[in-house]
Amino acid sequence: MHLVPCPWCGERHESEFAYAGEKKSPRPLDAGSLADDVWIDYVIGRANPRGVTREKWWHVRGCGLMFSIERDTRSHEFVAGSAEAPR
């Protein structure tokens, strides 16, 4: 069983959550003025690291909170205390 630490609910079963991808930098406001390769890298580029990475998780079958958290892609372990939720 795999537990995901939701900042609001505490540790809950993984099946309540949806993985929502790598946490990326904020969406550029002036996308139209960016060079094509910069914009395309923002849209489809992936860091895909072998190790700790910050991701978005959505407690969709729970409190509904979307938050970001660090996780190790080699072990699937979440980094304790790394969850951040928008205020």
């Binding site: 094509d36 390769d37 489809i44 992936r46 996780r71 072990s75 699937h76």
Partner: protein, 415 residues
């Protein structure tokens, strides 16, 4: 090279099978090659073989961090099929099925290609629409994939549960008659043996730690744990770890790695004679020649390099298996394992030259086993001529330059 035949088997039986030659050599690493292929899995070895056979390039080294065929070539569920949706994909994968049909003779090794057909069991109307569309696309390309009735599904899979009064009754099916399974090790070994006989060198336990480039940016070779190797051309064929190896050449690719798992049961009498795919239940199963049920389900939902099974996902797949086949409820599982697969942004593979001159990549494989012969052959063409073969031109990296996606729903079987 020693040919395998009934006569060589008999001859060697007389000497208690102690006289067999090694299937490939273990030579010293040379300081330079024309082409270095990183990764001795199915695609890398096939590429080496077709470089020698089709293009006469034999000064080739295949470098492998672990052992030959020990990555996804040895971890997949060996499904070979071509029931894709896009015209480009159907042509590509159908060409692969055709190469598989000749492969035992071509490689002089029994790959045990058993074209037992794949039956998709349809339980929802959206899936029926989806597969009807795919069957029509196949018909346009001359590939065999067609819808069948519920009665025909039960005729082909007699032990399928009676689901007609359940929440998701069987409402139809689809079949590809030429789909099948093959012995994965034999494919890696067969390509390795023939490539070696043609002069290609295979170096196991040789980990690439860096990609060397000239000041102008061209690839000049690789650094390994056994020293530097110069090469005019380098191909990255490292299923699962492409992001990490491509980063050695400052190349960033739109791919993400996931953990896909499979499991086998204890051997039982033959009861399933086709490959069964249940996209609505989320599971696929076939029975091996040894009698084991070989099954798999979904991927882990988040990106992963773990290469181990995960209980929650395994539980879902087993639940689906028992739901579709209650007869298996007391069968024990013997082994379960995971492999790192890759998903390109549009779910189609990438076989391409890259912005780095002299660097080629074959990646984004999810179900790459079925594509080994054609993937290796088109990659060899691309490496030898520095331009894509017509079959892999749609899979070039440049498609992402204009977000020209080749969205492919046929990549994933279980949903």
């Amino acid at each position: 090279m020693q040919r395998y035949s009934i006569f060589s088997l008999l001859r060697n039986a007389l000497s208690y099978h102690e006289g067999w030659e090694r299937a490939w050599r273990a030579p010293e690493l040379k300081p330079a090659y024309d082409v270095v292929i990183i990764g001795a899995g199915g695609h890398g070895l096939a590429c080496a073989y077709y470089l020698a056979r089709d293009h006469g390039i034999t000064n080739v080294a295949v470098l492998e961090r672990g052992w030959l065929g020990g990555g996804n070539t040895g971890r997949n569920t060996t499904t070979i099929r071509s029931n894709y949706l896009r015209d480009e994909s159907i042509k590509f994968f159908d060409a692969s099925v055709q190469l598989y049909e000749e492969l035992s003779r071509e490689l002089n090794i029994n790959i045990m290609f058993s074209q037992r057909s794949q039956v998709d069991v349809i339980q929802t109307w959206p899936k029926l629409r989806d597969l009807r569309r795919r069957s029509m696309a196949s018909e346009l390309q001359g590939a065999d994939y067609r819808l069948i009735s519920t009665e025909e599904v039960y005729r082909r899979i007699p032990i399928l549960a009676d689901l007609q009064r359940s929440r998701l009754p069987v409402i139809g099916g689809a079949v590809q008659e030429r789909a099948g399974v093959a012995r994965h090790d034999a494919i890696a070994w067969g390509y390795a043996r023939q490539a070696d006989a043609a002069g290609v060198e295979i170096h196991q336990n040789t980990e690439v730690t860096g990609i060397a480039r000239s000041p102008r940016g061209e690839v000049t070779g690789v650094e390994t744990n056994r020293g530097a190797v110069r090469a005019g051309k380098v191909a990255i064929v490292v299923a699962g770890n492409t992001t990490q190896v491509a980063a050695m050449a400052q190349l960033r690719l739109p791919i993400q790695s996931y953990n896909l798992q499979a499991f086998v049961s204890e051997p039982i009498k033959p009861v399933v004679h086709v490959q069964v795919n249940c996209p609505d239940a989320g599971m696929y199963v076939s029975q091996s020649d040894k009698g084991e049920l070989l099954a798999g389900g979904a991927i882990d939902q988040a990106s992963s390099f773990r290469q181990t099974p995960r209980y929650s996902v395994l539980e879902d797949a087993v639940t689906a298996l028992i739901e579709m086949f209650p007869i298996f409820r007391r069968v024990k599982l013997m082994r379960q394992w995971g492999g790192t697969i890759e998903f390109a942004y549009d779910a189609s593979p990438i076989i391409s030259k890259t912005p780095v001159p002299g660097l080629y990549v074959s990646c984004g494989w999810w179900g790459g086993f079925k594509a080994i012969p054609i993937g290796g052959r088109t990659l060899a063409y691309t490496v030898a001529r520095d331009e894509p073969h017509p079959l892999n031109a749609p899979y070039s990296l440049q498609r992402f330059d204009r977000l020209n996606f080749l969205m492919e729903p046929g990549t994933v079987t279980n949903r």
